[in-house]
Amino acid sequence: MTIQIHWGNWLFWGFVASLALVSAESIAQGLGLTRLNLPLILGAALTPNRDRARALGIALHIVIGWLFSLVYVVAMQFLGGPTWYRGALIGLAQALFICLIGWQALPGIHPRMASETHGPRSTRMLEPPGFMGLNYGASTPVAVFVTHAIFGSVVGAFYR
């Protein structure tokens, strides 16, 4: 099977999907559904200054989302072509991976995140997400699933 990428299309809709993801996460946080703040977590890996971390993190999150949308594009071609529901399905799969594995592994990777085993240290003080991200609120897994489904749907619905 040959994989064809329409680069212009991907660049545009991947960016839009990434913006939609960041916005949806921000709305979920604003509504009090979760304390998960991915821009802060990503940015805090680069700087301890939280204001700067948030700003850097937003840019980083958009770029990572953008790149990830390429994975979605490729995966959808394998699944029979881009549609909104295939995109959403891939989004749910990614969310499942994040919740089950990503959050658990994060304290080991993140240079400023405390771990449940060792507690916080002077350089690692950020609260870890815990199993399924539940430390950030009981609705965190739901928020992760929904926002990633939105991300996948946007890529699937508009990328041609």
Binding site: Q29, N37, L40, I41, E116, G119, M125, E127, A138
Partner: protein, 612 residues
């Protein structure tokens, strides 16, 4: 949860700590009984001061009997409480860490933290701790989890709390307890952090907590050293400035009236109001105090907040705003809370928010006019706001209003409101003449100023009783009439002011030298009004009496602070007990301005002596 006594301690038994965003009240018993997080006007996390059963508290003290001695570490808002029991002495240092900007930029620090450092300084002490948070005014359902090395995690809808400590806290249903035995030299740490939206930043304790404490002490000490006042009563002035700074909401520059709600003006009564907002009324006097002490940054930030955060409602100004300049929420009663010593209702939000109080316009313009006195400039946007507010005063000064005391009765023509309208016109002219305010119809403003002056002199003067009165064509006096001299409407030593002063002291004075704000028809049983007593000192210092009289009155008032130098809104004249919300920024502003007036009078007398 068992609080440990049948009622909350006397209001004056509390000390305050804060981080210029929120503040906590801690009793002499080491019980943190009031804290709203993350902001001053957020729902409470601890509220035992208003309901010992359901409010929530965090106590750290020795088991059994003890004597308490406490103080603030010099020139700081770091509270130190020493408990001496029969077996030893336990010292608890409480603070909400604040950091230098450079440190904040290079270190990850918790958004909100309360740090309690517990140290046995002598003998051995059995420590008895209870941690019982009750978020959202006691309404939130909490989920507790002991999470290994991370500490105790308390989750609720809308936020999360992490309690970390090297003392052993055991989770029991909706609270945690700690029973520990400390020997001389042992030092332990408790850190409570809260996060509303993002992931929390947790404190590692030990050395990190010592750094946080040292940073906090250094921050407050540096801030105190900026106080340029070097005359008599400096300690009291610095303490008042520190109390005021605690009520300053750093992100916006706003200053809240107090960090508490519903502490009663009459214990057991219903005069319980929410003061966790910014009253425009306090503006001019607060700015005078800040500029007078050399805190120009804070004064300018406050003026900036006054002129720009209120732009949602301009040219109409509301009586009070939230720290971000939003209208205050509608008043609600927390019926499920019993109130401080059964003083119901407990109110959140403030019903006076929509009242027409004309004096606030004069306060705002008068505050801004002080920029001229300190050679600061006024930008175009601010000038536009001032002109707009001035126009509103021109068009509305003749209306009746609720007045300075915010009585929930029919509108009246309050003398103080008219005075402040006169001040508004006067200060606009001052700014215009100084070249700071252009495009002003000078003639019209002058005419209005004169009209107001004539109205006050004719209708607020009761020839029969030989006194100015609280309302036009009235009979009664109130303490705000002393401000006629402060705002230079009348000379302090003139006949009318002298007679009014006499009437005020006769009718509103107490045996203990305090002053009620008005005759108690409106609210029988309430205490003497803190700032009114300081106005009296100012009046005397400004020429209404001798320097000695003013100073002696002032010394008498110093006896009514608590052991930490803090004042509430009101004072029970019989017992000297603090009443009302605590500590009250306005009372501390009164103290500072009284000392500044005393110093000015003193300087004048020295000059006069030298000339002679």
């Amino acid at each position: 949860m068992r609080y440990g006594s049948d009622a909350a301690p006397p209001i004056g038994d509390y000390g305050i700590i804060g981080d210029c965003r929120s503040a906590a009240l801690i009793s002499k018993q080491g019980s943190l009984d009031w804290l709203c997080w993350p902001w001053f006007d957020s729902p409470s996390v601890f509220g035992a001061i208003l309901d010992i059963e359901k409010g929530g508290f965090w106590r750290v003290s020795p088991a059994g009997g003890y004597r308490t001695k406490r103080r603030y570490l010099p020139c700081t808002n770091v509270l130190e409480t020493s408990f001496t029991s029969t077996t030893g002495t336990l010292r608890v240092i409480d603070c909400m860490p604040v950091y230098e900007l450079d440190y904040e930029r290079t270190h990850m620090i918790p958004d909100r933290e309360i740090l309690r450092v517990v140290e046995c300084t002598e003998g051995e002490v059995q420590l008895d701790g209870i941690f019982f948070p009750a978020p959202k005014y006691g309404k939130a359902r909490t989920r507790w989890k002991q999470q290994n090395a991370l500490g105790i995690h308390v989750q609720f809808v809308g936020g999360t709390l992490w309690l970390r400590s090297d003392l052993e806290w055991q989770v029991r249903n909706d609270h945690a307890v700690c029973r520990a035995f400390l020997r001389a030299g042992e030092r332990k740490y408790c850190s409570l952090v809260m996060m509303e939206h993002g992931p929390a930043v947790l404190s590692p304790l030990g050395e990190s907590s010592d750094v946080a404490l040292a940073q906090t002490i250094a921050w407050w000490t540096k801030w105190s050293e900026r106080c340029e006042y070097r005359g008599p009563f400096r300690n009291e002035v610095v303490r008042s400035a520190l109390a005021l700074k605690l009520l300053n909401f750093a992100p916006s520059g706003a200053i809240v009236a107090a960090s508490s709600t519903s502490l009663p003006e009459r214990v057991g009564g219903n005069l319980n109001w929410d003061y966790r907002f910014c009253w425009l009324r306090d503006a001019s006097m607060t700015v005078t105090a800040l500029f007078g002490l050399g805190y120009h940054d804070e004064a300018e930030a406050f003026i900036d907040w006054l002129l720009h955060s209120t732009n949602l409602t301009q040219p109409r100004l509301l009586v009070m705003y939230s720290v971000y300049g939003r209208p205050v929420k509608k008043e609600k009663e927390l019926k499920y809370w019993r109130g401080y010593r059964n003083s119901r209702p407990v109110r959140i939000g403030n019903g006076a928010r929509n009242q027409l109080q004309l004096d606030v316009y004069g306060e705002v313009i008068s505050a801004a006019a002080q920029l001229d006195e300190y050679n600061k400039s006024i930008d175009r946007a601010s000038a536009r706001v001032l002109r707009g507010v001035g126009k509103y005063v021109r068009e509305h000064w003749a209306k009746p209003d609720k007045g300075i005391w915010e009585g929930r009765i029919a509108d009246q023509h309050h003398t103080h409101s008219k005075l402040m309208c006169w001040v508004a016109m006067n200060k606009l002219l001052q700014l215009h003449d100084a070249g700071l305010l252009k495009n002003l119809d000078r003639k019209l403003i002058e005419e209005i100023r004169e009209e107001i002056k004539v109205a006050i002199r004719e209708r607020a003067w009761n020839a029969e009783r030989q006194t100015y009165t609280a309302v036009f064509d009235g009979v009664e006096v109130d303490a705000s009439l002393l401000l006629l001299a402060k705002y230079e409407f009348e000379a302090a030593g003139c006949e009318r002011m002298r007679l009014t002063y006499q009437r005020i002291t006769e009718e509103l004075g107490t045996d203990s030298g305090l002053l009620y704000r008005y005759r108690d028809k409106l609210s029988p049983g309430e205490g003497a009004f803190g700032i009114a007593s300081f106005w009296l000192v100012e009046y005397l210092a400004m020429g209404g009496g001798s320097l000695q009289e003013a100073e002696s009155e002032f010394r008498r008032l110093l006896m009514y602070s608590n052991d930490l130098g803090l004042y509430s809104e009101e004072i029970n004249p019989e017992t000297g007990a603090a009443l009302g919300n605590f500590p009250q920024g306005f009372t501390h502003v009164g103290l500072i301005n009284a000392v500044l007036s005393l110093a000015e009078r003193c300087a004048k007398e020295i000059d006069r002596e030298q000339v002679a």
